[in-house]
Amino acid sequence: MKILISALVVIVVLAGAALAYALGPSAIATVERPMPESFSGAEVKRGAELARLGYCNTCHTVRGGDPYAGGYAIETSFGTIYSTNITPDEETGIGRWSQEAFSRSLREGLDREGHHLYPAFPYTHFTKLTDQDARALYAFFMTRTPIRRSPRENDLPFPLNWRPVLAGWKLFFFDSGRFEPDGNASDTVNHGAYLVEGLSHCGACHTPRNFLQAEKRDDFLRGGEAEGWTAPAIAGDLPTPKGWTEAGLKSYLTGSFTADHGVAAGPMQPVAENLAAVPAADVEAIAAYVLPKMRSGAGKLAPAAATSEQGGNGNDEGRVLYAGLCASCHEASSPARRAHGMNLADSSALNEATSRNFVNFVLAGVQPPEGRAGSFMPALAGSLTDEQLTVLAAYLRHAKAGLRPWDDLGKTISNVRETMRRADAEPQR
């Protein structure tokens, strides 16, 4: 509540500052919708790859809906923002946007008419895009099937629903500018940096945000959160016991199970699905840039006290729950273990400071995308009571990770259950 009040205060101040700034941007004239034939095949193909590298489909498509027709709900701490229709429909999409208007939206966070866009759209990253890539993306989107579907109104309180406020936000938190390669780094690493910092906007989830939802630049890739999941730290001292290798990282990034770390889940799952469909060179570049930043094991949390009441070896109830519920996939003797049931001692979720990912895994489960082989974890929301999950978590933290029980567990469990209830009630197409 305190944060909310201070946020409001700041916003009001910003709004004043915004006024002047808001007068700046102007509309860019509409154009005739370019014909698909006017783009080269090679440009469209690279555009398709770039769209995957930017995960555009994830936020601009509702589950089971028409691709890129928008309407996907993005929950923020201030309210719900709905993504827009980016198909080339002339009325409801971007069919009459010029290349200039399209590029400006990506890199400056302004729509064609000059309205400011909410930073849920990661233009703070896309600003680094090269002209060439912006052209390829334009070519890709202009050759999609136009879908007539009006964007849904955002659900934000005053004054956040007043877009000029965003001008003030940008003043403080948005640095416009293209990517600058590091002269000392290889082309691969530079390409990786371009993707991670730009199009692939890894920091949007993996960098912590301040109370105005801006990424904290000093903590770049040091761990954030997304959709009720923890986006673990990529840079710095990581709590996971096993180190990352290039092969392991590439395999994780493309959705495969890695015995040392687990599998991409939650909001990372669509990221990995997209990365599985781009040229290997792009994933290699991401890995090459990220890997040197990852110091695995260095951030191992403080070990459990030997006499820890909840997690101690006396926690027989937890052991029994594990034996009956988890062991059929996660014990060394289980045949499923080799396929996709990891040794929980190595699990990132179990070694994290927060219980979010663990609780999400257990209650909501993980399922591979339709028709694809992959890691599977059944949803156990109905099987375990909150008390049982608490006991099981304490046991696993102690017995598998050698750590103290989580302090945030009770709150996380009720949050995740609430999120699942809402998702259940959410009307889908």
């Binding site: 034996a323 009956g324 519920l325 489960g365 599977f376 059944p378 109905g382 099987s383 259940d424």
Partner: protein, 164 residues
């Protein structure tokens, strides 16, 4: 000793508390409804209701059951007096080999307990954890719609989906 209720009757057992519910239902209570399919929570053949919610009985140890309420296929009705969901499945002749169907019935019951008026999409999403290999899906969906008091046929469902 673990005590819980099965189909509204108190039950207690001395069996090792690590033992998953499925084996106790089948071998101690001699209830045939819940079937072994994978033991991994991937197929739903073992589905029962736990406090009204559909769960995989192959993955829930006795230790998690103390004081809770289990409902199996047998708790929904009998051959002479089938419950509404069972009757809907019989009406639609929704079985080939039938091995997965008890799990389907329990999953459908679990859905209706939470959501008495599911949309076509919700029915399909709710049944997602359960596998059928004979390809009886179309009939299972018709039965689930019928159990939910909706028009059972495929065409009505198609119309509903294209209308929303």
């Amino acid at each position: 000793m673990t005590r819980f209720t099965v189909n509204d009757r108190p039950f207690s057992t001395e069996t090792d508390v690590e033992t998953p519910l499925l084996y106790v239902l089948r071998n101690e209570l001699e209830l045939n409804g819940a079937k072994f399919g994978c033991g991994l929570g991937q197929c739903g053949a073992c589905t029962v209701l736990l406090d009204g919610e559909a769960v995989f009985s192959c993955l829930i140890p006795l230790a998690a059951l103390e004081g809770r309420n289990v409902t199996t296929l047998e708790g929904l009705g009998t051959i002479d007096d089938p419950g509404p969901v069972q009757a809907a499945f019989i009406e639609e002749q929704a079985a080939q080999c039938g091995y997965c169907i008890p799990g389907m019935i329990m999953r459908t019951q679990g859905m209706l307990n939470r959501n008495p008026a599911p949309s076509e999409r919700e029915i399909r999403e709710h049944l997602n954890p359960n596998l059928c290999r004979c390809g009886t899906h179309m009939r299972i969906l018709r039965a689930a719609r019928r159990a939910a008091g909706k028009p059972a046929g495929d065409q009505a469902a198609l119309a509903e989906r294209s209308a929303t």
